[in-house]
Symmetry: D2
Subunit: 337 residues, 4 copies
Amino acid sequence: MDFTFGRVLKVTLFGQSHAPAVGVVIDGLPAGIAVDFNELEAFMRRRAPGQSAHVTPRREADTPEFVAGLVGGVTCGAPLTAVIRNTDTRPGDYEALADVPRPGHADYTAYVKYGSSRDTRGGGQFSGRLTAPLCVAGGVCLQILRREGVDIAARLTRVGETPASSGDEAMLDTVEKARQDGDSVGGVVECTARGVPPGLGGPLFGGMESRLAAAVFAIPAVKGVEFGNGFACAALTGSENNDAFAPDGGKVVTLTNNHGGVLGGITSGMPLVFRAAFKPTPSIAKVQKSVSLSRMEQTDITVTGRHDPCVALRAAPCVEAAAALVIYDAILETRGR
Amino acid sequence: MDFTFGRVLKVTLFGQSHAPAVGVVIDGLPAGIAVDFNELEAFMRRRAPGQSAHVTPRREADTPEFVAGLVGGVTCGAPLTAVIRNTDTRPGDYEALADVPRPGHADYTAYVKYGSSRDTRGGGQFSGRLTAPLCVAGGVCLQILRREGVDIAARLTRVGETPASSGDEAMLDTVEKARQDGDSVGGVVECTARGVPPGLGGPLFGGMESRLAAAVFAIPAVKGVEFGNGFACAALTGSENNDAFAPDGGKVVTLTNNHGGVLGGITSGMPLVFRAAFKPTPSIAKVQKSVSLSRMEQTDITVTGRHDPCVALRAAPCVEAAAALVIYDAILETRGR
Amino acid sequence: MDFTFGRVLKVTLFGQSHAPAVGVVIDGLPAGIAVDFNELEAFMRRRAPGQSAHVTPRREADTPEFVAGLVGGVTCGAPLTAVIRNTDTRPGDYEALADVPRPGHADYTAYVKYGSSRDTRGGGQFSGRLTAPLCVAGGVCLQILRREGVDIAARLTRVGETPASSGDEAMLDTVEKARQDGDSVGGVVECTARGVPPGLGGPLFGGMESRLAAAVFAIPAVKGVEFGNGFACAALTGSENNDAFAPDGGKVVTLTNNHGGVLGGITSGMPLVFRAAFKPTPSIAKVQKSVSLSRMEQTDITVTGRHDPCVALRAAPCVEAAAALVIYDAILETRGR
Amino acid sequence: MDFTFGRVLKVTLFGQSHAPAVGVVIDGLPAGIAVDFNELEAFMRRRAPGQSAHVTPRREADTPEFVAGLVGGVTCGAPLTAVIRNTDTRPGDYEALADVPRPGHADYTAYVKYGSSRDTRGGGQFSGRLTAPLCVAGGVCLQILRREGVDIAARLTRVGETPASSGDEAMLDTVEKARQDGDSVGGVVECTARGVPPGLGGPLFGGMESRLAAAVFAIPAVKGVEFGNGFACAALTGSENNDAFAPDGGKVVTLTNNHGGVLGGITSGMPLVFRAAFKPTPSIAKVQKSVSLSRMEQTDITVTGRHDPCVALRAAPCVEAAAALVIYDAILETRGR
């Protein structure tokens, strides 16, 4: 059940980096929803590799084939199912990794969990490649949400030590510098959902923070998630941190948004805001220390192959996708009440 | 399903702050486990109110009655079920809140979700009181884990602007100052689990970060969760952030622990480390702006009643409890493979 | 997770026959529903033991205490939680059973599953006593359904070789004869739900037959479940078995109801009809062959204690309760679409 | 969530009769299991159409393409995912059905549930075609179970009024007669699982009867499921129905098997025996009464297209598949304890 997520909307991912395909089954979409394939393709292109010098040159068409769930481009109640073929795989790049795990990567823990049968090619099911079907599912939900007045947008707010306030060019320079050094760099993505209806979520394990965090931490390389002012709230007093309520044309709003749109696990109707910290890509060209698992001896490792120097660069659509799945799931759940 | 958590170990909480009782049903514990009631009582006392000047003077015996699941103090395979009576309730304190929601609290969002039937007494099911049965469940798991060599300990690392390095007294002074000001203050709790076996968790939605974050965000007032070096990793390069592997007496260890014991969603065998940010208690004595829901007009609110000036002070056992539930659940899940 | 059932409405049972209590947590009820305690008590009395010569003389008040989920007798969105104390327990009756399992009972399989820590007193968590909290949950749902125009009624259609057409007295005579012989007898219960809205359920694992059967087989002693004409349909041709559609005042009805109100797993709006076969109570006074588990030797067993000679006699409310849980759950689920 | 089944082993089906494909995602298989493709193909052939005069002449290669989950034919821990292309579709056959539902079929209830967006081609997601991916998943589990000493075999025990004791030819004659009459006929399939370890399952909703029935009722056309002597037990006394225990070389066996291998929801180690009743194929050539949904008027319907005159004929492998999924799931679940 590691590959399934959601309550009313059940999203099941499948695939490995170098298997014939990756894909997704989405169970629980209402019947009668038109899928805009052009819009979806544009969304998928935002996360696709091979776009610029700053990202991995691996090229994937990343075009999902919808093999079930549609009649004439409209959902029919059967699970919407998409298959994306893996075309540009180079398994040879990864052979040595079977014995020497890459520091910071899932190689070692996959070995402990699955043993010698694990897929050592390109990270197997731990690969960022699995975010492609995540974006198919999330991309469809983003379309539906937009039609219902919910708009979700994520953006990079920091790359390494360069904040977004320094400008996009400065952030790309930081990535480029890391690439030239045979290194990589981390980043922070901030996501804002506007138009989210109040009343989604619930107390305790039904809280939107719990559900959003569970989805966002499923994206490879995420090491922190915070809502509203997040960790900064720990330094404040209640009188500084509390958001005053005010009437606004028959609705209740807050005058500030430190709470990030969630109170008591339930959406308040204010913009839902959260940030995710992405660690630097663990696969770097620099020499690193590791272990030969077969000989249990220290050894050096130099990771070759094609890798993004900054996964955060392509992460915004993945974060939007994760947020869309949770928010649309909560909307469907709430409609039942 | 907002009140149930876990995969193999299913924990279901129930109760409201001013209902006759709160409690928990724990389904999935193996048969044959002795519960140490003294140890559990000592653990419960760590979160109990009424201990010092710094926490709410509400006094609760907080003694769970185990009404099912045991034969002679040993689990028998039936769900372990505990009921904790709510004895010291003062519903009168809360009447006014039915119309004027407290800023920063769940009052308003509960109203949106449940309407006029919601329990307005003491936060109802959103109350920190629900962490008592969470601690019963977590406390039992902590006992079992300790017998299996897993030790989980959480501690306060910051209160407001005072870091733990300033000493306990400085942190308590910060709380006391907030209390005297009719205000409250936030804090950060860090949790470390040692002895966690490698191989727990899984890729994507099965990742330990996803599952731990879902449990920890269920604790009222948590606004951020980060693993290992967390948000700080965003500022680093891969060569700085990656933890080198090394052999250590037949095992594989890492020489640093920036990853916080989880790689690719799976435990590495290194200490599992995470931090949770707690916002300042929203219930403060200072005058705040709010709205009369019946008249849809701006109004002032002054929260009376007994409230902790710093929920983080009592949060460490709750964080340990949440961590224990997830880790023991993952151990039971892994044993099946 | 053996003790939790449902999708939107999550019902968690707890307790053992001779634990301090049995009970239930019902998560997912809408807020704002008034519970009619008198009606519930009347419903509980239908399954209660001690009513007549034909059932076990064990007397239980069977009065649920609602410890959470209500404010002034109305649901508030928190899980509705009821505790029923076990008052009239006689553990001594069961001591010998720890070593010699009763034929037809769960004694042996509980030993295999839980080992020596199992609760050997009165069947532990396998006891028919667990149907008391099932009836609390189902009884509340029956009330809600009735207000929505859904009426569920179950009745005994056979006791041993005596069909209902022979009259109630003949069926009771059959039970009485078994009792005097130190024996027991089986029976069949038929349940009909009228007013069920069409469109509940779904294909495959979402089918109403799957969900109803899962709930009904959870009642101890059920060995068969069939819908509509059930097993008899196997002997028919399609032209005999198909139910013709006809218009009826703007609705679609069927002229016969061989399908029992479910087509393709989805309710048709026709009465939902199913039958459950109950085996004879396994606990009988007659000498039977069994095994001493400690000595692995053949031995005789004579079951003493108080046992119903025909569990089917008291089963009708349990079957109604199981049906109500599934149907109301499906209604809540469908409302979301 | 209508398309996902299982606890530890999560099986998700997708597809419609006339979509590009049907298929299955199997999450939770241990890593390191070799799939025998020849054996699987032979198993799939048992359910495939187009084999004889007695079944539908629709021909499908039914060859699953495994697009994920394997490395060199061995499971790697990622979900095993198979896609089966639908090649021989003739959507034109079904156009008229959009307005006039076939009696006994899901056409009408699908219309109620999904509205005008439903897939009216060949039954959409309600088609028996979905049993192909069910058999892929079940076929893999059958292989694994066989290696662990568990053997599952189902067979037809009745076709219409012809019992298996009359011989296969007599049963096929009954099918042939129905076909020539433009009619169809029902049947009963009995399934026996030998070598099932004792101790699988649990009380209440964890009972094997509940879980097996839920899976078997998911197969289209099943209207009844019974275990052991099933409905016949209702006519017996306890002394007739109870199965005496006896020691047998260090194990405990029962001398008879009225209980069908399950006591208290838990396997006893005796052969697990159950029967499923299949209704006659609803699609028949004879004229039937139905309703025009657009005009809400009575109308006649004659179903053309290719249909099995007896679905039970091809149902045995489907029943084996359903049983294998549940039993292997329960084995994986039990291994964790």
